[in-house]
Subunit: 269 residues, 2 copies
């Protein structure tokens, strides 16, 4: 390998890099610079393959993802591969979709590498939880409507719905659910139970890519909308009045949010 | 202006661009490309001034921020400036710190511009809420510990603590508070009230910049830690067991989180 030609004894190190939500231009300069010095790139399926071109031609590029019907590499094997490749070749860049620390298992990889004495660095990426709604011009927070946003996974370790979902349904936060399409009916049932049947919802599939698909509805009917429009994973689900602020939201939702802004202004006077 | 030389009648348009948390390398390619075609850049104080160099020399660059002791430009004036400059010169890039839709008033600027018929686009940025903890190797979520993160502003429109803070204190989410340093004692009192006096907390001031400062503690003593270390705004406050996963967290916090991971594994068997 070239890495050996250049550096007699490679310095084993790991850089965990966030590749962004899909659009290859939504990667940072810092990520590109890390890729440019990679001896090995271990990438998953969420990262756009075009990004691999930032790595040297001589770098080893290995797919370790678990999507798109390809073979699943257990997490422990990925951890071991990182350490093995770093000791063999030097700088391993672990390229992960979105941000490496948002529902990725980035920290497990980092901790494992540090146990073997590897130098480590984290380069944050644009998380789809924030960016995919923004690209639809849905602000996660809006003065007069709410003061927070809450990002929750729909698929927990034990395949149950997170207990936080019940609190989420009672909060005024904008709720962003990742990996929740399979539990959509169960999730909306919880929100309906807490008086949120009318709350606007958007589902954005393949956000930031040319395959982007979008559905709007309310808690009580969004599961039907998703079924009718064939919306499926990977998708971001956004629940909250702010959905009505999207310029292409249906009039019903837009009117709801304008009404709420007026009410809040009146109350706060 | 050059814009007039090239284009007889400028096409008025607005691109809202997220500049990232401070490190000028944490900007996206897409943002750089938008800046390169700007006729006018309206920037606030959180954006690193080095980023202005991506705009053409001929572009008008105007500071419209409200930090660092400089004069405050009311939001309505910023909105009007965007529209005026777009009709006069063409492409206005509004460069905002972090992500333009996370507690920025980006959507107000967007809606105002659209009311005047401007073409608009949003380019998401790296939000400090996600990136600043990541740079400290604090994952916002960790299997076996929690399944969500909740980003809340400490400073609401009415200068009160968000009602969501009371639900936040009861959830298992990692809580990330922006603009909360002035309310730190009030916030920690709420968490203590809900049995979270021992929960690990990190405060990261000027995250991602050379001026970064870091404090660790628990809910019950973090306000004293902040005072002793002179930690102040702008800072990100992270409350949750995941804080103990930071490699440089004090042993007490690291042990707490390891203990919790063990307990969870035992329970889920």
């Amino acid at each position: 390998m070239n890495a050996f030609a250049k550096i007699p004894k490679p310095q084993p190190r790991l850089t965990l890099v966030g590749a962004g939500p899909g659009d290859p231009e939504l990667i940072t300069l810092k990520a590109i610079r890390a890729l440019a010095t990679a001896d090995v790139v271990l990438y998953d399926a969420l990262a756009n393959p075009a990004l691999l071109e930032y790595a040297p031609q001589s770098a080893i590029k290995t797919f370790v993802g678990k999507r798109g019907g390809k073979k699943y590499l257990p997490q422990q094997k990925i951890n071991e591969l990182i350490v093995g490749e770093a000791f063999r070749h030097g700088h391993v860049v672990r390229l992960k979709g979105g941000d490496p620390f948002v529902f990725g298992r980035g920290h497990e990889e980092l901790a494992f590498a540090e146990d073997f004495g590897l130098e480590t660095e984290v380069i944050p990426g644009i998380s789809s939880s924030v960016a995919v709604p923004a690209l639809q011009k849905i602000p996660l927070t809006k003065r007069g409507i709410n003061e927070s946003f809450w990002v929750i996974t729909g698929t927990t370790k034990n395949h149950e719905i997170s207990k936080d979902m019940v609190l989420a349904a009672q909060s005024s936060a904008t709720i962003i659910i990742l990996m929740g399409m399979r539990k959509l009916r169960e999730i909306t049932a919880i929100f309906s139970q807490y008086g949120k049947a009318q709350t606007p919802v958007a589902i954005i599939q393949n956000g930031s890519t040319p395959e982007e698909k979008l559905g709007f509805g309310q808690v009580e009917n969004i599961a039907d909308v998703a079924e009718a429009q064939g919306l499926a994973a990977p998708a971001v689900i956004v629940i909250g009045e702010v959905v009505g602020l999207a310029s292409n939201a249906p009039d019903t939702l837009q009117n709801m949010v304008q009404q709420q802004i007026k009410t809040t202004q009146y109350v706060s006077r």
